[in-house]
Symmetry: C2
Subunit: 320 residues, 2 copies
């Protein structure tokens, strides 16, 4: 068998972005793009690599000789739950562009709530000129970042540059320069200090439903923003949406920015759409740049075929 | 005459913030706060220092022995135009808090437009889940900062950390590490490169009406955001508001964030309030922290009375 075995692609992405990026992808090997009608029925038996985002659950019945699986995004929960998942390395997508874009979203939303933009935009709609008296600055506000992987670490660093007081939490203790960090044994301490909670956790059995009423109740009340704020750009499965809604209605939370939801698209009848102080984006905080994704996969395949170790391999036991 | 001569205060600020901050201000000298009814008629003849924000135009007829004038904000245009202005040093307010807050506003608004939040918020109101295809990232976008004083330099540095490509303009050429800068002879080159224009200029005879149709037409068209974006958090007098409105209506500008206006409060019949892609804040980008202002003035008075040179003294000829 030749060293240049095919790559099979099953990415549930917008076609516009994909067509352009796939045009020149993997020039030295066959590309089977299951989204193309003329490729859909092809034999996948010789494919060595699979690039996947929410793939067809029956994929692994057809592609039985895969060597490496690549996730089309930072998360891998969409792969780990699949039936017949082969015992092969899964490589997550780590990319400067993805990281930068996630931090753009996080910093923008933290500043949006800090600067009370929901209230100012309401005033604008009503043509009211009024300076809101309560105006804490970033250094008065503690942002607690949950999840200190590549994304969380970059967001935390940029939040610090913007002046926020930043603390971090991860399941296993991480040491980050110039930042106080907490681990799973000290979550209460972390939450009690947090004015703005930024969720950047992967979806695992341990994080499913983690952001619930009990957790929101443990965030700092009466801080400089009055009530705590919840941001989630990790995975929707980590939040109990009914609890988010109740916490906002009862004033346990003062505001939220949500990019991810238990079920996407978010249902039209969700009360979240119309809630004041809630910013909703449609899982668009850090869309994968498909060109960057292809370059990343090409580079990892090159390493793999040269006998070098793969990078960003998922720990299946931990789930991320 | 005692070394501890009175300070007269005429700050048109919100009373809530001032009362608390003034309680313990200038403990070693008399404080005449003209906003207090019981102080309003006092003799100002012995006052050596005046702390001013949009003061009574007749002030200098009463306070005839002033040694130093302090501005309550970063700008001094509200003082320079006054009749009977004594030929004494004017000290502008430079403060970490003021600088940080201005950068919060600038970075938030640049990210808001980069991430097309006006469009996403419109979708949210209509309960539409749709990922907008055009999603440049910060490094694709050039932010041109006009005005490279303390505020402009800090905003530029933080915009760079967020990934933006940042260039700077000032009347006299300034050299900033890691940033391309332009002076008054190269304004066209600067504008032709700029996707988001950030106005942080003082109001002087040279900057009055500077942001007009002619200037907007010289900004880069067809950049990654489609059309250029205009931010102004300097002084309203620098913008020709009718031209801003026309440029937005005609699509010469794609969006704007305005914190300052030719006449404040902005008139209720201004079309700006209701324009899509326009963010309006009521001159609140960087409200002076009154406590920090008092500390700054106390420190400068201490220097002055100890025979040391004052800091942040305004160049009257330049107007800032």
């Amino acid at each position: 068998m030749s060293a240049k075995r095919p790559v099979v692609i099953d990415l549930k992405f917008s076609r516009v972005a994909m067509d352009e990026a796939l045009k020149d992808a993997f020039p030295d090997r066959e590309v089977i793009d299951l989204a193309r009608p003329d490729h859909a029925g092809r034999d996948l038996g010789s494919a060595a690599y699979a690039l996947l985002w929410k793939p067809d659950p029956a994929l692994f019945k057809r592609a039985t000789a895969l060597e490496v699986l690549f996730s089309g995004g930072a998360g891998v929960d969409h792969i780990l739950a699949l039936p017949d998942l082969p015992d092969r390395p899964i490589v997550r997508f780590v990319d400067r562009s993805l990281t930068d874009r996630m931090s753009e979203w996080v910093v923008m939303n933290c500043l949006y709530h800090l600067r009370q933009m929901a209230a100012y935009q309401k005033q604008q709609r009503e043509k009211i000129w009024h300076e809101i008296p309560l105006q804490p600055e970033a250094r008065d506000v503690t942002v607690g970042v949950m999840g200190l992987g590549v994304l969380g670490e970059d967001a935390a660093r940029k939040l610090k540059v913007m002046g926020f007081n930043v603390i971090g939490w991860s399941r296993r203790k991480k040491t980050l320069e110039g930042m106080e960090t907490f681990d799973e044994d000290h979550m209460d301490d972390f939450l009690a200090r947090t004015d703005i909670l930024v969720g950047l956790l992967p979806l695992t059995s341990e994080t499913r439903g983690l952001y619930d009423s009990s957790l929101f109740a443990r965030l700092r009340q009466g801080g400089p923003l009055g009530k705590p704020v919840f941001l989630n750009a990790g995975r929707g499965g980590s939040q109990v949406e009914a609890d988010v809604i109740i916490a906002l209605q009862k004033g346990v939370l003062g505001a939220a920015s949500l990019d991810v939801f238990e079920k996407e698209p978010l249902a039209a009848d969700s009360p979240l759409w119309a809630m004041e102080n809630v910013v909703i984006t449609p899982h668009a905080a850090a869309a994968s740049d498909v060109s960057a994704l292809i370059r990343h996969v090409e580079a990892q395949i090159h390493r793999f075929e040269a006998g070098e170790p793969l990078e960003h391999v998922v720990d299946r036991w931990a789930g991320y």
